[in-house]
Subunit: 165 residues, 6 copies
């Protein structure tokens, strides 16, 4: 039986975290949804025809955090102990800023859970407002802060990536 | 039995599309993942430690398109007949541009499916590169083009929203 | 090869509806959630500590309708074209009455989708109010009306089952 | 950047249980499915045309318990270590009484898991018997007993809610 | 903006079937589960400690057929109109032969749905018998017959692959 | 109220593992996909028209391991801490051998997770190659090794089941 091993160059696998200590971990992420003045005015006035935009987006974001391991192939399934999704209106630019927060006691971090919550909340806002403005843009989806684990505290700002300004 | 109706102000519900005609519909969306030069170089060289970043993100995006109705509360379940996720490298800004395409013969459009595919592909790239650069930013998540349905052809550019510049 | 056929007595299988005509079908279902005066007062006043009870239950019900085929083993997967969940308060008995409505153009009815939406909305109300009253009861979960298909129109009342009065 | 905080009145979020102790928790719930004499006779005789009603409902209930966090928006994902669904026939009223039991070692209770198991088992019975009796009613869906956690033992009867008698 | 196209060599995508005609399609698949005499005797006698093995495997197989597009990345979501899973005992070799059947009116075939049903039914039998025999083997998982679509009727035997004999 | 207990003969339930100790557990499984020389040659040459077969199958297998409790009715939900899927080519018989590995610190074993990963990876290979060879056979799906838990180390070979040789 002549075998040829295909995986020499390190193909995709879920990293082994079995031996990591269980510790408290949390992460904050955000995303920004920018729309036309008309779409934003309708959202703020609570007159969107599909219903309450932010209440729906909040539930969608919370539910999505729990689906992260089903969506992101190499993510570990995690028993989240806290998920929160908040919104701030930025009327000067017709934007809704989404802030997500996840926490658990576990063997690996919850950055992807926080980012997934923010992303799906943003897509839900898009879905409910797209009849008025199909050109809505989702930007600034990024990690804000991370606590716990081997590397300890990380906060956006110290080390800057090349994202939008 | 005294009843008080709670839904006078039009609460969230899935829009009725039963009586819409079945027609061919398609949508293109995109997203941009911008990372540090080190993370980008590693991705391009195929040396990411978690595996082949773009192959994994492509599958994640395709799978996510099929989960759209499960993720976005008011989306209708749709029998997608085509999903594609492509990537272009933009070395000048250390970015990966994701282009998604969805198509079906159905009663409602596939914008959300295309946007969800692009968003989850972007999050998967984030996940696989975050060990090198946790500050990665996902931006420019937006609809590019849409065909079919009552409104016919829509293309980004005619009507501009207030997204990032 | 001596074979013994195990399925002579008609074991579970998903009924074949391939040859049924595609037609418009709809269904209405309901459920009743009865709680203590304290829990009901808190719900009505919008002071539940977990958040907006009915907005959350509405989204949960809509999402659940889309998961029906995943929950009920012999249900066919259906492309719902309309899902709605409404609530009526019945202060005289500290109850919330849930009314769900589903519709599609398809080969089989949507009774289970309407009943699943009502049931999961009811469970969500329970979840959000159980800290105040763990003894909440969900009752009167039943089909109210059904349109379309071979049997045409069915409405509760003509033929009475032995449920609660 | 002028911000307006939308969440002052405590919108929906998943309660933080990170700091709660891991302890053994269990819950019992029930539900009652009441049907016409003809439908009940067919179920008891094992002559339902869709297959073995109770075997199918039992599996559906067990599977549903594991999906609770996906169905109920603010439920925490839990690693259930025991799920059981039992049935008792009540011929005098043509009813099937469903009894569910869930258990785990965790940071929060399993009431919703037990209630979801009972509810989905009930809906599965409805689905399999509805061809004979569409007027079937599901009632008395409620928590029976709860052990573990800060509040310790709770049993139905001490404090009575306003449900059916 | 200098772009480098990564997908020249045809990366994974879901084949476009939008323009295919809707037609009736069906598929039969099978799988064989072979176990020790002790495990087989226990299964046949209905004395497996986890419960009724074949009733559980049948439901698992039916449910899995509906999850095919969620499991197999490039499969199209399909609205199955019939799923059936049957078992035959082959006492001479302590085997259970699983036969699955799927059908729909659609734009693409249901081979993967039939194969997924058979595979998950097989794994469920393994799960319930593994306490008695962890060495159980699943083999002969293959398509048996396929009807409909451009290629018409295909039946195992005409063209033979290199599988086991 | 006259009750008849239906569960005397031990119907299906999820085994109670609440009181088992949390310990490190791992499992290895495998599966063999055998195809025609033409399909195998195309796979090896990377010229399959649907895309990169093994990269897609690897992701599908990893994702499937995380869905095990959703697929196999009596499996406990487990927080896997490692999933790996590898492939070896066996050109002499036009076969791809799939090797899966799962690990966690938990109360029950991960055999089903490893077997599910191997099975779904096999089905994905089938899906991508079936246009060239619909007669592909999946065989030798079996547990290879298991570590941890009460029974300790188990390795295929000591005790032989009646599968293929």
């Amino acid at each position: 039986m002549s075998l040829t091993h295909l995986n020499e160059r390190g193909e995709a696998s879920m990293v082994d975290v079995t031996d990591k200590a269980v510790s408290e971990r949390s992460a904050r992420a955000q995303s920004l949804v920018t729309m036309s003045p008309a779409a934003f005015a309708q959202l703020v006035a609570g007159q969107n025809k599909k219903g309450d935009v932010l209440a729906t987006a909040r539930i969608a974001g919370i539910q999505a955090a729990k689906k992260t391991a089903d969506l992101i192939p190499l993510c570990h399934p995690l028993a989240l102990t806290k998920v929160q999704v908040d919104f701030e209106l930025e009327p000067s630019q017709n934007s809704v800023r989404i802030a997500s927060y996840c926490r658990l006691a576990g063997r690996t971090g919850v950055e992807m859970e926080a980012l997934t919550a923010a992303s799906i909340a943003a897509l839900t806002i898009y879905d409910m407002c797209k009849a008025v403005d199909p050109a809505i843009v989702i930007s600034e989806t990024r990690l804000v802060e991370k606590l716990g684990g081997k590397r300890g505290h990380w906060q956006r700002g110290d080390e800057q990536s090349g994202g939008e300004q």
